[in-house]
Subunit: 215 residues, 2 copies
DNA sequence: TTATACACTGAACATATGTTCTGTGTCAAG
DNA sequence: CTTGACACAGAACATATGTTCAGTGTATAA
């Protein structure tokens, strides 16, 4: 993406205003609101500067649409800044029980909202709250939330949520196939991996993110 | 907040559409766009239903403002859904060096955007990326991001980022005053706390959140 | 049977909002 | 000195958008 290096002070003021307006209102300002905030008396000049900012990749506009602008993000696929994805809270995850995920299991009203650029994938996501200390080998604490993408296959290096039927437990570990075994590697580098029979490993999802909210 | 329990199917369709529209466009739809999506031919009926949803606390509207609606969140202070706070990336945090935070130290362009309801506070925040394995006693991994609120005082129970001048290290631990000592309690419950002279503890900030992005 | 509440309809209207037009001023390059 | 690019200004205009109006239909309660 080509970006002009030196923005005028007006252009900086415009971008700053748009960001703060979005934070307060969760929708973008109008041309006139931008003008008022940036000390520009003419809608034509606001339009001119927005056109420049759009050309240089700082924002995106939709023609003939009220409030039809959004800030560009530096994500490779230009996911718009301020766009969020809702990740439904699907319950809890604890060592001694398998995760139950399925249609209708979780309440779409109770969801975690995350800005899209925090996540590499946006489909088939759900959030699980950790119960107990059993996940600390994954550096995941009681009460943490893990964002999981529902899938039943894993690739080497994926952090997975897996149900081990021989042990009767759910675990979060890095997954590697090795010959006729599966190596499950804790995130904590001071801890040893476990080796299990592939038949007992039931992949429930791939972990994309961990969120810990304190106090 | 008083909420009507049973929404009509039209009202559910309206809310669902608004959410998905916000996700795709990062600004809300118009009355007519809602009508088109929900199969309502009359702007008056859309307006009527939005009025009901507003009365029941599902969304907020601004009068005579284009796209002047936003979804309600269940946060105690009714922080609007989709509103985000920008947390500037202020560099890294590693054991062997104090955090350097100050005006202008960090680049406001490089920021983490989080939905406001994830954070109890929204001022004086910055984000630090963890370098090294030294924070695993806080269940924080190399590469994780910690959201810190800049403050130099701590209350018992706060998770703090503290520089210990006698040890020459930065640590993340729960802070407790005890008689003439400070107890710093690791997040990992299987690990022992450390007791230090209050004079060597330099509080750099309170940790509000940890974010781990995988792959 | 009547009254009331709720949901809906199409149309009209008022205002919000974005775009375009015609110009001026400044600065740097030729 | 002239030219061209850039930034700006006020006004006009067109369309987008939200609100209101005068009604209809249905269901329930009295």
């Amino acid at each position: 993406m080509v970006r002009k290096k030196t923005l005028s002070s007006r252009q900086k003021a415009i971008l700053k205003f748009i960001r703060s307006y979005l934070g307060e209102n969760s929708f973008p300002p109008t041309i006139r609101e931008i003008g008022a905030a940036a000390g520009i008396s003419s809608t034509s000049v606001v339009n001119y500067n927005l056109k420049r900012l759009q050309e240089w990749g700082y924002l995106l506009r939709q023609k003939d649409v009220s409030r039809g602008l959004r800030l560009a993000a530096d994500a490779p696929d230009l996911v718009p800044a301020g766009g969020v994805v809702r990740v439904p809270m699907a319950g809890t995850i604890a060592a001694g029980e398998p995760i139950e995920i399925g249609e209708g299991v979780f309440d779409e009203e109770d969801a975690l909202e995350l800005t899209r650029d925090l996540l590499p994938q946006h489909d088939n996501l759900y959030a699980l709250q950790v119960r107990g200390d059993s996940m600390i080998d994954a550096l995941v604490n009681d009460g943490d939330i893990v964002i999981v993408q529902h899938q039943q296959e894993a690739r080497d290096g994926d952090m997975v949520a897996a149900w081990l039927s021989d042990r009767g437990e759910t675990t979060l570990k890095y997954f590697y196939r090795e010959r006729d075994q599966v190596r499950l590697q804790p995130a904590n580098p001071t801890m040893q991996p476990i080796y299990v029979d592939p038949a007992v490993v039931h992949i429930q999802g791939r972990v994309l993110m961990v969120v810990r909210q304190l106090s």
